[in-house]
């Protein structure tokens, strides 16, 4: 079975500083990878996804992530964060049940806290 580990439960950072949220996955087959953001008291919103092709994936709100197959990682980065980026971030991997409906396996979440 696939699994996802987010290495930091909390990441405090000052406004306009760069940030990296780390995600590692375990899988013996090809995977699809995702990052979601959850703002306070809201549902989850897709930030970006990796399906195939270029290992650098750009998403919404200035975020990007790099797929590294040898290190089984999919870290999320932003060069300059804003107060409004304060939220919970989830990494996820797609698992397939072949014609029986797939599902996403989520990491434990990383709380990004941007301070002025």
């Amino acid at each position: 079975a696939q699994s996802v580990t987010q290495l930091d439960s909390q990441v405090p950072v000052f406004e306009e500083a760069p940030v990296e949220l780390r995600c590692n996955y375990s899988s013996s087959v090809s995977v699809y990878l995702f990052w979601y953001v959850q703002y306070p008291n809201q549902g989850l919103q897709l930030l970006l996804k990796y399906l195939s092709g270029s290992t650098l994936v750009k998403g919404i709100n200035g975020f990007e992530a790099e797929f590294n197959k040898s290190q089984t990682s999919f870290h999320l980065r932003k060069p300059s964060v804003h107060i409004s980026d304060t939220a919970e971030y989830f990494c996820a991997v797609s698992e397939s049940f072949y014609n029986q409906g797939g599902k996403l396996i989520f990491g434990q979440g990383t709380e990004l806290s941007v301070k002025p």
Partner: protein, 117 residues
């Protein structure tokens, strides 16, 4: 225009009661899910339905029963509510590719915060 809508948004009820949460999606997706998010924000899948057929049933107490009258609706009924059922419940929908992978991700509802007192 909401893609995945859940009702109610908040639900406060007493132990032992029975309650339902409704979910509807207008995206034409084949698969719908229920996830539970606990107080530590951990997301755990409970059920998934594909074209009204139950596909995934994780280790969930029998008090939880999903019902899918059609592929656009997936409701969650909970009997004999317990304090430990307090959580945020998310409905989601997706469309798998030909290999069964969720390659476009999920679309989530805004969640139902259930508080059992």
């Amino acid at each position: 225009d909401t893609a995945v809508s859940q009702t109610p948004k908040y639900l406060v009820t007493q132990m032992g009661n029975d309650k339902s949460i409704k979910c509807e999606q207008n995206l034409g997706h084949d698969t719908m899910y229920w996830y539970k998010q606990d107080s530590k924000k951990f997301l755990k899948i409970m059920f998934s339905y594909n074209n009204k057929e139950l596909i995934i049933n994780e280790t969930v107490p029998n008090r939880f029963s999903p019902k899918s009258p059609d592929k656009a609706h997936l409701n969650l009924h909970i009997n004999s509510l317990e304090l430990g059922d307090s959580a945020v419940y998310f409905c989601a929908s997706s469309q798998e590719n030909e290999k069964g992978y969720v390659n476009y991700g999920y679309t989530f509802g805004s969640g139902t915060r259930l508080t059992v007192v």
